[in-house]
Amino acid sequence: MNLFNYVYDGQLQRYLREGVVVRPYILREFVYGKDLKILLVWDSFLKMSSLYNLIKVLGFSGLFVLIAFIREVKTKDILWLGVVLLSSSMAVLTDTKKSYLLALPLLIVFGFSRVEKLKGKVLFIYLLLFILDLIVW
């Protein structure tokens, strides 16, 4: 069948003449090869580790605690979080939304272990944000 029998389109003919119509569909095979599926994992990982998504899980107050005490995060905490995020990005554990549930215990333990440092101005801001969370979410 002549696909172009019935077609008028100068621009399309130029694509055809220069071979750009056929080429991408050959190259797609390469792009959809198993090696480049890593881009999907990359996307999920970045999405899950973005502040916007963290705020959806932890709330404003949770994120505040995380940022306020970021300097005290230990390597093992980061490792655990990294493992959860990465394996969830690869859909090993569960889907990306539910995967935060696995990271939550860490974040709760992290938060509670710093409770004694929640005082003064930091405590005030935390409580304010906690109330905000209760109302908004």
Binding site: L3, Y6, V7, Y8, D9, G10, Q11, L12, R14, Y15, V20, V21, R23, P24, L27, R28, V31, Y32, L36, K37, L39, L40, W42, D43, L46, K47, S49, S50, L51, Y52, N53, I55, F60, L132, I135, V136
Partner: protein
Amino acid sequence: MVKKFYWLIFILIGLFAVVLRVYRLDLAPSHLSNDEISIAFDSYSVGEIGKDEHGNSWPLAFESHATYKAPLYAYLSVPFIKVLGRTETGVRLLSSLMGVVLVLVGMELLRLFKNERTAIFVGLLLATNPWNVYSSRMAYEANLGLGMFGLGLLGLFYYIKKKKCWGLVLSSLAMGLSVWAYHTFWVLTPMVMLGTIYIYRERFSWRRVFIYLVMSFLVVLPILLNFVGSLGKTTRAGTEMWWQDNQLSTYMADSSDWWLKKDLVLATTPLLNYLQYVGFDYSFSKGLDLFESREVLDFGWFLPVTIVLFALGLFKLNSLVKGKDRSFLWFLLLVTPIVPALTKGEVALIRNISYTLPVLMFSGLGMEYLWRKKRSLFRVLSVLMVLSFGLFCLAYYVHFPISSGDRFQYGYKQAYEYLKENELDSYDWVVVEDRFGPYAQFIGVPHLYFGYFGAFDAREMQTRKSDKDKGLMIGKYRFTEIRWNSEEIKKNSIYVASQYNLPTEKVSGKLREIGVVRLPDFKEQFVIYVSQDVD
């Protein structure tokens, strides 16, 4: 060594940027988009008769799709369209040139901040930046605004770093013009100007600050007067603020939640928007949104590897840049997403365009750190950069023009060319369907495409009449949703109809199909019919 050949490399990077932004400018993207055609026609019309599409003489805000466009792009494009004709290149070239200007400005800024080598790194990052390449190949007012904003910053830093007074003159002019170019800069430009003056306050005398601000104010005065005169309706500030978002305004009006919750949701929305705009996923993975459905081959605003360089730039900034410069870089990074966060709708690439500059400045500094301290990692990342840039070129120059026709209202220009080539535009009536897409679910602006590509001129556009049933009529052209059952098929008529909208039994005997306009991926877009009375 680098110092010796810096200007040669500067020119080479500039040429490289030109090639990436001008190569096949008429083919990728495959068709002028909704916003582009509006600018293109207004620019052509103003150049011909001094009026825009809607008949406003020399407007300072161009009415467009239920909102208003800033005026500078349409005016500056007039000579391009005069020289290159009513073509895609004619309206896009200005944006491409501003993209190149931004690359060179970024290099010069980093040369002033750090050294020639870092400037070269930033130049390469900017030249190959997907976001900048994408926006420079479309007639985006935002890209013009960013180019002007960059020039303004450069002028300011020529004064701050080298005490060049002409830098202040350049800066006031360019900063003022950025306000003329795009609405984001209405807020961003004054914030950055005042913030920079504050950070480097020891370098300024009050007299100079006063003259600088007055000069900038005089440049933007006509726009401000127009804004005040129209009671704020002619800017995006009147139509695009976050509280005007459909979902949010419906929630505010209809929800039974108590007032405090509603007010807090309203108040926290800009913060959540801000976090979305700085999110890693949009920046480094999917923000460019080249393809309709999420594809593996999509890209973020920056090449994926840039995240490592950006992170290094952030964490090692203290050792790379000193004192006030460090404060300025942080300030620029944090302040640029504020304006888009205040607007409605989903994350929009183009509103956050100014975020490119600080992110890539940080990334360039990260590269400088790697060059000095971790040369082997530098090599590995360079190879990955080249590979990911190659993938981006494949996605953008090859795949994107073919798969994105629908998003660019592809087919209206081709339909008109079909009529012209076959001398069918001599028919008495030409009816063009303003619906397109697989289910004819989108409403297009075919009158602008037909007008810009030559079906009628700017004067004829002024004679247009709008009718609720018949649609938009310009001379023998009628642009409307074709309802076959109620359509009166006149003698000597041509119909360009959506492929989804097949003639009903009532009219099918009176029409003869003579052609099909296909999308670049071969899907049918429009079918062309003539009335049966004519052979």
